[in-house]
Amino acid sequence: MTITLDSKIPNGPVADAWNTYKSDVKLVAPGNKRKFKVIVVGTGLAGASAAATLAELGYQVDAFTFHDSPRRAHSIAAQGGINAAKNYQGDGDSVHRLFYDTIKGGDFRAREGNVHRLAEVSVNIIDQMVAQGVPFAREYGGLLDNRSFGGAQVSRTFYARGQTGQQLLLGAYQQLARQIGLGNVRLFNRTELVDVVTVEGRCAGIVTRDLMTGEVVSHAAHAVVMATGGYGNVFFLSTNAMACNVTAAWRAHRKGALFANPCYTQIHPTCIPQSDPTQSKLTLMSESLRNDGRVWVPKNADDNRPAAQIPEEERDYILERLYPSYGNLAPRDISSRAAKRSVDSGRGVGPLKNGVYLDFSDAINRLGRNVVEERYGNLFEMYERIAGENPYDMPMRIYPASHYTMGGLWVDYELQTTIPGLYAAGEANFSDHGANRLGASALMQGLADGYFVLPYTIGNYLAPMLNKPIPGTDHPAFKEAEQAAQQRYQGYLDIKGTRSPDFFHREVGRIIWDYCGMERTQQGLEKALSELPALYEEFQKDLRVTGDGTSLNQTLEKAGRVDDFFQLGMLMCRDALEREESCGGHFRAEYQTDEGEALRDDEKFAHVAAWEWTGEPTKSVRHTEELKFEAVHLATRSYK
């Protein structure tokens, strides 16, 4: 199959592209919008904002979440903030600068057009969220406060204590709830997507499984939006919520949507290190802490004294030393690797020597305990609850963990996947963060896609379909997909082996973390690609799911998700193997500078890798979309 990946960015300067697009886009008249049904899968920032806005415009919307309520989506856990090029601080920010920082932060592996649009609409997001009642932090004069985040030299991050994601999601959820109350959105909760249905190459709808009853049901629509988040849980231990999974995106991929850059995963530098083998997840400590916390390790590997007894001259403030101009606010991938190198060299701290210090004693001395408490109080409390140590008295211990995935479903400028009528928004798509996402940009992207991009681009697709019939759920393609889904879930029950889905999840996660985590090598990836199929075969033979498929069964849900993680994991390793360069979160040990920094190969790899499913997890086909840089010059990223 020949596939041409056309990004569909309007011609002309990138700064004008979105205005050009909006001027030319086809419209659906207000009275005709109700003739179209749009399905939105996922109710996080991207999904809730898209569903609410589309419904408000007049489309019939069906929204799906596997949670009990839309408000549980994992966007809620984002702590630090949301970027916007408002320049309220007058410190030199602009749309162009946010655009440039995002492209550079992504190590020149993102598409210029999409990123520029993101920077443009960032300012509307803040206006919109304030109008909805999001209680952002304010100065005493009543104006909005900002702070700075990694990879930026301006203060453009808006925040609501350490719970910005919560407040933004509640804002989007309230707008969605309003549309549900008005009858414009039908909400299907505790319902999981199990397949995507295409008819004659177009997306015709989805098949879902009711988690309460196991019932498999088809839903037809004119267009479908996947806002189903990232796949960071492939590592088993990550900062993602327990239920985060790749199933929706993966099922779309298997039906023809190309999956782009799966090896671009973000390892976040500031998480609480693992403390015992039964641990189920890792907890993030917001990047905002790096505004005032200083990262250090002892200079000597065998220094086992408590932190307070190690004198200043025997401490190595690694980020300040290596990256003086950005210091403790170096981007995430760079900070993570610096921490890893320190721990690998035996200078790790804590009982398992698996962390580095994040020290607030200077900030407490400079600002006073009250100010530090005001800024980070809830994070400090959370740390104390988990680690059992008080960070006002002794430095936090942190270590990198899987946090976010830049890869995802390939989408064009309209956020449409390679299946016409199927869109992907938020973390589920690949488009805006290149090989590394900057802090406080995920919330920005989710809301940009949902509030300000999809409502335009979906109309452009729907307008020519006015008054034309679409396949209903009685179409054979739906029946086939229903049957396949029923067989798939019955299949897990029928194996009757000896190991639980969690057992296999831990194992697959360990392999991916060891060989496709913070540092990758050809040898390691090849090893992973020989171990994963063998383990997958064992999964298919030795899985045990107790209970039945006709009532609530959390083990069965988990089995389906782990199955898809296996297939995705193999693709991640292949993608990482074929990308023979280092960029952003993808660090191949063979390709590094003398100082251990990522070494890109722009000649060969200034492109997006988009994979086509062929029926076998290890035999997917790689396609490429060349990245053109017109507004920025390709440069070696330096934060020194």
């Binding site: 809620i76 919109q128 009642g133 952002f136 707008q175 109350g181 403390s275 189920s280 409502p455 107790t546």
Partner: protein, 258 residues
């Protein structure tokens, strides 16, 4: 370094479905690290049950960071267990000691019917929000975010209420099964902000009356505040009552104006 707890006796509520009767079942945890979280202890139990070919205990949970509000356990009769300001998922085993008996039940409230084992249906909360827990602000028409300054104490007060994670501990802890703390927190978040004024009285009337359809009445026990993982103050209930009383006059006036 971590220590280990030994010989924990768990009494867990098991119920096959919404319409069947439930019972307590006993389980022993031989050994668990005190670094483990409470839910990780249940994960360990569930792994064992699966390997014994039994049905694992169903419980709701997701972020395990205390923010999504999904987890919901009565632990020894206390909503979210013994640690203040802490949701179940953030409770760690270091709060218990070897040999302890731990009773684990689902939220107990008639507005939250049991789905299975420890999982309950809290969709009545969503109905309250749908009835008025929002500011009508269609996408695209918002003025500049700094156009209306909001005094810091007002923004802080809104945030204090907006921190509510919607877990339902307030209802579970209340002897009357009332949802006044949840509803009042949601109302107060929006009603103190300048952006929330246009719909202030309509909002409070709709939300209070939707709440009354599902939940019991508040008699100011204050159990809700003690159980709330975000320590939301019961002052918000007084503010809600004040606005509700006013709404009965204000909304009638609005109506009579046509």
């Amino acid at each position: 370094m971590s220590n280990h707890l030994k010989n924990l006796k768990l009494k867990i509520w098991r119920q096959d479905g919404p319409n069947t009767s439930g019972r307590f079942e006993d389980y022993i945890i031989d050994e668990i690290s005190d670094e483990a979280s409470f839910l990780e202890m249940l994960d360990v139990l569930n792994e064992r049950l699966i390997s014994d070919n039994k049905l694992p205990v169903v419980f709701d949970h997701d972020c395990r960071e205390g923010i999504c509000g999904t987890c919901s356990l009565m632990i020894n009769g206390q909503a979210h267990g013994p640690e203040r300001r802490t949701a179940t998922c953030q409770l760690h085993m270091r709060k218990f000691k070897s040999g302890d008996e731990i009773v684990i039940e689902p939220w107990r409230a008639s507005a939250f019917p049991i789905i299975k084992d420890l999982m309950v249906d809290r969709s009545a909360f969503d109905r309250i929000i749908e009835s008025g827990g929002f500011i009508t602000a269609p996408t695209g028409g918002a003025p500049d975010a700094n156009l209306i300054p909001i005094p810091k104490p007002v923004a802080d007060a809104a945030m204090d209420s907006a921190e509510c994670i919607g877990c339902g501990a307030c209802v579970a802890a209340c002897p009357n099964g009332a949802a006044n703390l949840f509803t009042a927190a949601k109302i107060n978040h929006l009603n103190v902000l300048p952006q929330g004024q246009a719909e202030r009285y309509k909002r409070v009337e709709a939300m209070v009356e939707t709440m009354d359809e599902y939940f019991g009445s508040c008699t100011n026990h204050g159990e809700c505040e003690a159980a709330c993982p975000k320590e939301i103050s019961i002052d918000v209930i007084a503010l809600m009552n004040k606005d509700y009383r006013k709404s009965k006059v204000k909304n009638r006036k609005e109506l009579s104006r046509g």
